[in-house]
Amino acid sequence: MTAEHINIDHIAMLCRIAISDEERRTLPKQIDTMLAHIQQLEEVDIRDVKPTLHTLEISNVLRSDKPGENFSVETALMNAPEQKNNQITVPRIVE
């Protein structure tokens, strides 16, 4: 697989990143180099090998079911880019 097959605008759309014209030119080549490097993994025999998601043998960790402290409204909104009436403001979505 090479970058010629990669639709950079489509991937940028999937991850919601606006890319510049220059990035549209340079990224495919960089991605191509990386994918060529990653391609080496095809040499490894992985028949009957289980994937490793995590190195620890722990699963289904649940915290104890008791209420903890929560942020005040003021704290929760302290980093909001825009706010009004104790709520985060966003452009209208539903017309």
Binding site: I17, I19, S20, L53, L56, V61, I88, V90, P91
Partner: protein, 487 residues
């Protein structure tokens, strides 16, 4: 006389205990040092002098009453700007978090407070910890205190350079593929990446959740043990935190019995400098002279560690960084006209090029057409890498290698060649993929005067073994007592 700012935390604690120095005086000494050298080093992104001095005053008051809090009472500690401290900036060296203030403390921050440590400020890194040189910071480039034309390593380059230059005696960093050990090696100080799950990740801005660990930087191994003692332990708020028994690290430091050291041939092949090889060979001779047996071992899948690491790290990063959407927090583009536009423009404007590259590649390998070919395959090769270590540890107790194949490179040398930059992590990434502990200490200097790093890799939760074996070498040499001449 050795300058106070180059003293170890252990020595400084003794001075505080003898009352030959107060914590306020100590904090002022370090603040003065920061003012003198940081314009050249550029390690700190922000300071809060008033807060640090208040904490120092409170420490002195506790000491006067004989009511000390914990192991580090009165000792300044620096923080990589990726770990939350309530009320302080948390930029991750990214423009997207330029104005962000942490609303809560990370668990390690709470642990530092409970130990009585003085929090000195926020240290530079590669944006979102993506890099090996700290050149990817959106704010400034940190310089290597041994030679300002060289990189300090990365991504925790600010933490390593600050300890190296005598701006703080201790600092925290995070290590996803070598981001503590590699800068420790480049700056000639000690750094440790703990076993995955030993230190809580709650309040650490995530790069790759299955690989990230917070760990200590220090002047020597004893100080590493002090800081690790403070931050290690189970935390209910991190679902991958492990309820392991925490030993008294420094009590075990001098109890090392000669053991079997594995020398992995693959760590001496790809692009290793002659000077680095010679320094490591001298280390091997040192241990053999001291009764240790060395065994040639093979970790046959080492060659695949970098591509596996990149697939997994980029996939996890693309998912983790989706939270920076310009809606609830983080930069919101003033040019956005509708809701979707907020995502695109805010992220497009304020992520740096390395971050974009990794998110885009991560998204690509996770997309439905390529998931099996890249992500699932990488996870299976990851299993092979874990198996290599498990097999090696059947015959050896620890593994010895260089931390990096070369000494620090020049600023700008690799910034336009991402693949070359990634290859500098060859000796460190396998450890993260396997969740194992590893540390780096200085073991020599190149002819150009740059430090060379020695890495020990251990079995899971065997940090004390790593520290005691490293301690033996450190005590027999003066590398931990050499300081850069920067003033």
């Amino acid at each position: 006389m050795e300058e106070l700012f180059f003293k170890s935390a252990e020595d400084l604690l003794q001075m505080l205990a003898k009352k030959s120095l107060s914590s306020v005086e100590l904090t002022q000494i370090f603040l003065k040092r920061i003012k003198a050298v940081d314009p050249k080093i550029q390690a700190f992104l922000s300071l809060d002098e008033e807060r640090s001095l208040q904490q120092a005053k409170a420490s002195d008051e506790r000491r006067a009453k004989g009511k000390l809090l914990g192991l580090l009472d009165g000792i300044p500690v620096g923080m990589k700007d990726v770990i939350a401290e309530k009320g302080q900036p948390l930029t991750c060296a990214s423009k997207i978090l330029e104005h962000y203030i942490s609303p809560y403390d990370a668990t390690v921050t709470e642990s530092l407070y409970r130990s009585g440590a003085i929090l000195m400020g926020r240290l530079n890194l590669d944006e979102f910890a993506m890099g090996s040189s700290t050149e990817n910071s959106a704010y400034q480039k940190t310089h290597n205190p041994w030679n300002l034309a060289y990189i300090p390593g990365g991504s925790s380059g600010g933490s390593a350079a600050a300890v190296c230059a005598g701006e703080v005696p201790l600092a925290l960093g995070s290590d996803t593929g070598g981001s503590i050990r590699q800068p420790a090696a480049c700056c000639g100080i000690a750094g440790l990446k703990p076993t995955y799950g030993l230190v809580s990740r709650y309040g650490l801005s995530a790069l790759a959740s299955s690989l990230d660990q917070i760990g200590p930087f220090a002047r020597n191994v004893t100080d590493l043990g002090l800081l690790l003692q403070v931050i290690a332990g189970y935390d209910e708020r991190d679902s991958t935190s492990c309820n392991a028994e925490i030993p008294n690290y420094n009590q075990l430091l001098k109890k090392q019995q000669p053991c079997r050291i594995g020398i992995p041939k693959e760590y001496f092949s790809e692009g290793i400098d002659l000077e680095v090889r010679q320094a490591i060979e001298n280390v091997i001779k040192f241990y053999e002279k001291n009764g240790y047996s060395t065994v040639d071992i093979s970790l046959p899948h080492t060659h695949y560690a970098i591509p596996v690491y990149h697939v997994i790290m980029m996939a996890e990063a693309s998912s983790n960084l989706a939270r920076f959407d310009g809606i609830r927090y983080s930069h919101r583009s003033p040019k956005a006209t509708n809701a979707t536009d907020i995502y695109f423009k805010s992220r497009g404007e304020s992520f740096g090029s390395e971050v974009k590259r990794r998110i885009i590649l991560g998204t690509y390998v996770l997309s439905s057409n390529h998931l099996e070919a890249y992500y699932v395959r990488a996870q299976k090769v990851r299993t092979r890498i874990c198996e290599d270590f498990a097999k090696a540890f059947e015959t050896v107790d620890v593994i010895l290698s260089p931390t990096t194949p070369t000494t620090a490179f020049k600023l700008g040398e690799k910034i336009n060649d991402p693949l070359q930059m990634y290859l500098s992590d060859i000796c460190t990434v396998s450890v993260n993929l396997s969740g194992l502990p590893a540390l780096s200490i200085p073991c020599g200097f190149s002819k150009a005067g740059l430090p060379i790093g020695l890495q020990f890799i251990g079995k899971a939760f065997h940090e004390s073994e790593l520290m005691s074996i490293a301690y033996l070498f450190e005590k027999a040499h003066d590398f931990a007592l050499r300081f850069p001449s920067i003033t």
